[in-house]
Symmetry: C2
Subunit: 253 residues, 2 copies
DNA sequence: TACAATTGTGTATTTAGTACACAATTGTAA
DNA sequence: TTACAATTGTGTACTAAATACACAATTGTA
């Protein structure tokens, strides 16, 4: 939460630097301990969480803006990022507007503007991320997808839309390279798919299909030390993976 | 092309009415005589064509803006419209900016602003459309997709991107209801698919597959009067069609 | 050393996709 | 009137992909 002075300072700075009416919101997916995670922010004295987001600098390509915003929140560069939808309902920022409405009159308040927000989703390696709050929040943290808190504004809708998009993408693009560590076992990868889809898959059929895509390499040695039978380790074959990313899996018509 | 006075008038009006930095561009697909058509606009004294587009009114949802813009260009209401991408390169409007740069200094010229454009594609019944030029053009006409003229700005990219999206959509959504007349024959529908995909399909397999979707009704009587064997007439089963639109064809995982 | 948990692997069945050929209808030209 | 070209309707065999399902091997623990 900004103080009035900070708000005034920010509005001045925003008007100079950023494009009016445009924001970016990102749904950042991670995967940890068999759970899908989403990176969220929160104000100490508020209940609702919100998505990492920001604005577009006047001379900045929007892709670059999304990358910059996520670098600030995660510490990561070169994130897998995909634009998926623009949310442009004039009512969508009503609540946000109200939030600072008592501090500044609308004509001085940058947040009183109408904003269209461009939705991006990101897939990142959970362990590589160092969550960093932004200047409006005190908390930036991974939240469990099974246990999503209530979100501000239309961020619930944006999240749902991102998840739907991810589920569709799963059908004709490889997913996993950005979410899994370098080496992983087949059951671990399967768990990722099951978690995204919220659906059990057959172990044997999953393995056959995913190997059929030709995007995995199996290490010589299985993972040792754990309980039970030692599973083989796999890693993504970057060449095959990138080929599959551009070509897609299915022929269709 | 606007005169200087018209440009000044328009800039004043635009600043009052429209959101800054945002535009909408539409790729309108039609189908006629076995050819895919795209609705384009042109200035009399210019070579390059451009996509029907416009701006978003300050209190207007973006979907509604896209509909309004297309109603002005086609006369049609309730068009099948789908947002597919935002084009946000800061250089994308360079050429446009230059176009009016000799008339007005940048600070007065609405077109000198940076614009992000939201791309929509539309599928419409060719016969229902009455092409209407906008205030910047003298020509609004269907152009053959086989014989696309050069387009202004990044409109070539936007068009290509829309076509790619349409081709992907074809794999998991029914297409045709918005492009075909009420009744049509199987070969006519096949021609639509072949034209979109730019690829020959097997008659028998096409029929089996498309009928398998359960989105078509066959009329009792075949079409009479033409040369050759009288083909059956089909129409879309609206219920099945809408179900397929929301559910999609393929299970995937 | 038996057991529970987990992993690796194979096969039969069903479904979807592909390839391909012949018979029927209709107008036109001989 | 009749052969012909063009087009439509229909079915079957083959292949590939998806699904359903079961048993053997490994490892730590009781």
């Amino acid at each position: 939460m900004l103080t009035k002075e900070e708000l005034i300072e920010f509005c001045k700075e925003a008007r100079e630097s950023y494009l009016d009416h445009i924001s970016i919101d990102c749904v950042v997916f991670g995967f940890h301990e068999g759970q899908m995670k989403v990176l969220l922010l929160k104000n100490k004295d508020e209940e609702k969480w919100y998505l990492p987001g920001g604005f577009v600098l006047k001379p900045e390509p929007i892709e670059m803006a999304a990358n910059r915003i996520l670098k600030e929140r995660t510490g990561l560069d070169e994130i897998f990022l995909q634009q998926f939808h623009v949310f442009g309902d004039p009512d969508r920022s009503k609540v946000h507007n109200d939030m600072y409405a008592d501090m500044l009159p609308p004509e001085e308040n940058w947040f009183s503007n109408r904003f269209l927000t461009i939705g991006y989703y990101a897939l990142v390696d959970f362990f590589e991320v160092t969550p960093q709050p932004d200047r409006f929040s005190e908390v930036c943290a991974w939240r469990d997808m099974e246990d999503m808190p209530e979100l501000q504004l239309d961020h619930g809708l944006i999240f749902k839309s991102a998840l739907d998009t991810l589920r569709v993408q799963l059908n004709y693009q490889p997913i996993g390279y950005n979410l899994m560590p370098k080496e992983f076992t087949m059951p671990e990868l399967q768990k990722l798919y099951e978690t995204i889809l919220d659906k059990k898959l057959d172990r044997r059929n999953f393995q056959r299909r995913i190997l059929g895509f030709g995007i995995l390499n199996r290490a010589e040695q299985p993972r040792k030390g754990g309980a039970h039978k030692a599973p083989y380790l796999y890693s993504f074959d970057l060449e095959g993976y990138k080929h599959a990313l551009t070509e897609g899996f299915k022929g269709g018509w």
